[in-house]
Amino acid sequence: MKQARKVLSTYSSDTFGVISALYGLGGLLVMHDASGCNSTFTTHDEPRWFGDDGLVFVSAVTEDEAVMGTAGDRLAADMIETANYYHPKFTAIASTPIPWMTGSDIDLTAAQIEESTGIPSFGFDVSGMKSYEAGASAALLAITQRFCTGEASTRKGTVAILGATPLDIEEEQLDHISVLLRDSGKEVICTSSMNGTLEELAEAKNAEVALVVSVVGIDQAEYLYKTYGVPYVIGLPCGPVTDRAVTDALEKAIATGKPVAVFEDAVSDETSKTMIIGEVVASRSLALEKGGARVIVPTQDSKHIAALLSAGDKVIVDEAELENELKSASDVYADGLYKFIIPSGARLIKVHHRAYSGRIY
């Protein structure tokens, strides 16, 4: 049966993608939902919740409000009151299935809040039914367009890291990237948006080059490229091969002024029995590191995925199709939750992906 899932889980939703991308930037973040979103997000998808203060709330929309169409005005009033108390740097509302289905005008609610408080406010009309990629991409682009403005003054030797959210990137990976860049003589002036600030994000336009570490950062990278001419490299350093490839690509991008993907010339071996399941940038980078593995991307909510794949790679969201594809695998790099679909005789090499298994592993 198409689309039926017996053993596999789902990826974090677009609603969570929005909140994850904006978390830690000093905003008041609200998931416009009846209940449950907040606790699921904070306990499973957001490692920073346990160590940092975060203004993350759920609107607690009621059946009565949904039917009568009054949720938007009430939410605006609540957020205005809360914003006037906490004075956040911005506010953002991420929609969920109920307000999305009933046609709530999230942009209007955000505009009401901004008009009343003067605080920049964003509305994200996400459905809660797509993957985190859609929400995180939209949020990173919107926040960059709003706060990274004005004239740019390029600073030589600087790098902006884009597309970094805990849903895709581990702290240890970020540390590895930072050390790599420092050792190659680069200064990181912005990490959007893990461990970064709005002030640092505003500096991204001055970077000599950007490093896009996941697919959700490509839209914001394109904005910086088209608006300020910041060239970008797509790739995730994850070992000696990709470390070298990324540092070389950064120099190439600076020299040519053009975007480049570290794996753009690498062709996956269609007959390879080594498969990698996961986010496209991380997986293709890992395939380059391992030398010729095939990539399977299990999400389809970024328009950039197809262009980042090579022949032999596939987008597969259907469980039965994935099960069939994996029959010929000997080694599979994937999140631990995929263990239920790995054929006997094949080896699973776990690569934690928080957007998939949260904090189970």
Partner: protein, 248 residues
Amino acid sequence: MKKIAIYGKGGIGKSTTVSNMAAALAMSGKKVMQIGCDPKADSTSLLRGGIPQGTILDLAREKGDAVTLEEMVTEGFAGVLCVEAGGPKPGTGCAGRGIIIAFDKLAEKGAYDVFKPDVVFYDVLGDVVCGGFTMPMRGGYADSVYVITSGENMAIHAAANIAMAVESFHGRGYAELGGIILNKRNVERENEKVAELADDFKTTVIGEIENSALIAKASEQGKTVVEAFPDSAEAEAYKKLAMKILES
């Protein structure tokens, strides 16, 4: 680009009026797009000789992302760009959500940028019954809302509801109420009653269409009166109304 939403009670003559205005403007050289926002999907029928058109929702369901603008937008009389949002089967689904999906699909495919129409008419069903049916009047869509009514009490009641919805969104970046169109049914005190409605909402009756057998005769032929009887007084009335809306 002027974007105009037309609302009014079901059966009051919205699609006939919009199609005639679209035809009149197209004949005067304007590029006009007419978007039917009703699950019945018959808004543009008179511009297409009575031939039904595939709806955005049906096409999207059938073809997914592969659906093209050329499939969603067809040319009718005098080159009017015809679009039908469509909707669920009667008694099922969510028509309001359907309108939103259809509008999103049009935007995603860049319909306004590709066709660059001078005028866009949104022909919206009966009443503003839920969030989806406010979509045409939201920021980024129509600039003005016009409400069609006759002097019949039910039509006036529906028109008042619509005007109230527009009023409730005043100052929020939504379309403003442009005026009332009187589509006459020859009931007692018709002009007075509709003028009172306009007064209540601090607007004006921007135009009147007389009850005419010729309009019905053209409809029987699957045509607008502008197409079937271009020299008639009725065709002239639609032309005047369209120009007045365009210039206001």
